[in-house]
Amino acid sequence: MKEKVVIVENLSFSYGKNKVLDDINLYIEEGDFVGIIGPNGSAKSTLIRLILGLLKPDRGTIKLFNRPIDEFKDFHKIGYIPQYARDFNPMFPATVEEVIGANIQSMKKSFKRMGKEEKDKIDQVLKIVEIEDLKKQKIGNLSGGQKQRVFIARALVNNPRILFMDEPLVGVDLESQNRFYKLMDRLNKEHNITLVMISHDIGVIYDKVNRIICMSKGKAYGHDLNKCQPIDIVREIYGENMNLLFHDH
């Protein structure tokens, strides 16, 4: 039986008086590629931020690798690619190497200059995300897609076991989307990294992931894709009158 890497039980969360998550229960297993979908304002990002401990729940428990999030210390096991990765401050004077290097070094307690081992590690992750030639570039000079790859490389440098991505494909053209999914496929299958990704595009994500979590009106519903059809999911989130329009690009 696969290990449950994320367990959420009876989770509720409100912004002021507005309850956005109401008694949520879900789990994510090791090796899963999970898509979180739902309309705007359905608290998809809030759910991820709660799982990561960036927000405190009103009620309920969250466990990462079987540890309550309050006691979780193995931060190197998780990677997070935020929404702001694509439009990161263009004036910020840091190179790709510095950004990735900070993540390796922050795992060490004492002051130490970056050695050969760390530099090799950076080269290795840059190769995985296919931006080896950008190592010395300032992050502000890169395109949105390249910046996103830098953030993915920054997460990969610690050999994470789970990667959370908040709408990584907003405003990304079709070719870059295909490259992104190929990378995700390699990370999931070759590197055995559990992936959790927020997306709006159910038509595309349905083919790529093995589980979908649908969020609507404060509730979350998990689906194993071997056992359900995309139209059921769409109707669950957007209502019974909705239909899927199949088309080619």
Partner: protein, 268 residues
């Protein structure tokens, strides 16, 4: 110029401040908190006035007042999460209000020297304090360089990397307060934040990495202080003004050189 003992003290103190202020300013500017220096300097002025009134060494009271204010800003920032600059406005108003009342209470004739800086009044006590605090600030920056970089680049990411952003933010606020308070003797409270910001603004135009930006900021800071002190001595001008205008001149020079370089590149 170096024949005079007070100028020797000024130069040593100036070089220390020229290193410390842009270093702290570099992190502040990149975290979009450049105005903190201005806010704390107004509070430091009220601290200095309080010291004069109570016959306590004004730099000490300036340090205490600005540390309390810096921690107050951190606390208020959480109350006004989406309007973080409000916390600065509240503390700045408090500082100015308090300073004007304390100054009007009398026995504060020396306050002008804290407003614009003064070379002649720098004592050995000032010098020892600046060197001591300077060492603390630099040791901290070296020890926490990676964590400070991470928090400056991406505070949320730093938190997920296991860095205690709460501790570091509070500690860094204290360093900012110390920098402001010890700088007011030479640069003056009205111009401290300029020395924290102008060398950094110049460095951002030419830096090609985080480290190089920090080195450029320090270099421009030191050059501004040394040239500013020389101008202040020979033309009998307030050192704060000459230092800051030198920093501004360097910024303009870099902007103009950059534009000329761009035009030449486009022409080719």
């Amino acid at each position: 110029m170096l024949y005079y003992e007070f100028m020797q003290r000024s130069l040593i103190m100036g070089i220390m401040i020229g290193l410390i202020a842009p270093t702290i300013g570099y992190f502040l500017v990149l975290r979009r908190q450049a105005v903190i220096g201005d806010t704390l300097s107004h509070v430091a002025l009220s601290g200095a006035a309080f010291g004069m009134l109570t016959n306590i060494y004004p730099v000490y009271t300036g340090i205490i007042f600005s540390i309390i204010a810096a921690l107050g800003i951190e606390g208020l920032r959480k109350k006004y999460e989406n309007y973080a600059e409000l916390s600065l406005a509240i503390i700045l108003s408090t500082g100015v209000g308090l300073a004007s009342i304390l100054i009007s209470l009398g026995n504060t004739q020396g306050v002008l020297s804290y407003l614009f800086g003064s070379l002649a009044l720098i004592s050995n006590q000032d010098l020892i304090l600046v060197i001591g605090i300077g060492i603390i600030i630099f040791t901290t920056i070296i020890l926490f360089y990676r964590d400070l970089f991470y928090i400056t680049f991406d505070e949320e990411g730093a938190h997920l990397a296991g860095i205690s952003s709460k501790f570091l933010n509070h500690y860094f606020s204290i360093l900012v307060a110390l920098t402001v308070a010890i700088s007011m003797r030479i640069v003056g409270v009205l111009l401290i934040s300029s020395l924290m910001v102008l060398p950094v603004a110049t460095s951002l135009l030419i830096a090609n990495s985080f480290k190089s930006g920090l080195i450029y900021s320090n270099s421009f800071g030191i050059i501004s202080v040394i040239l500013g002190l020389i101008l202040s001595f020979y033309f009998d001008l307030a050192p704060g003004g000459t230092i800051v205008l030198t920093a501004l001149a360097i910024l303009l020079l870099v902007i103009i050189t950059g534009s000329i370089k761009n035009k030449i590149q486009k022409a080719n």
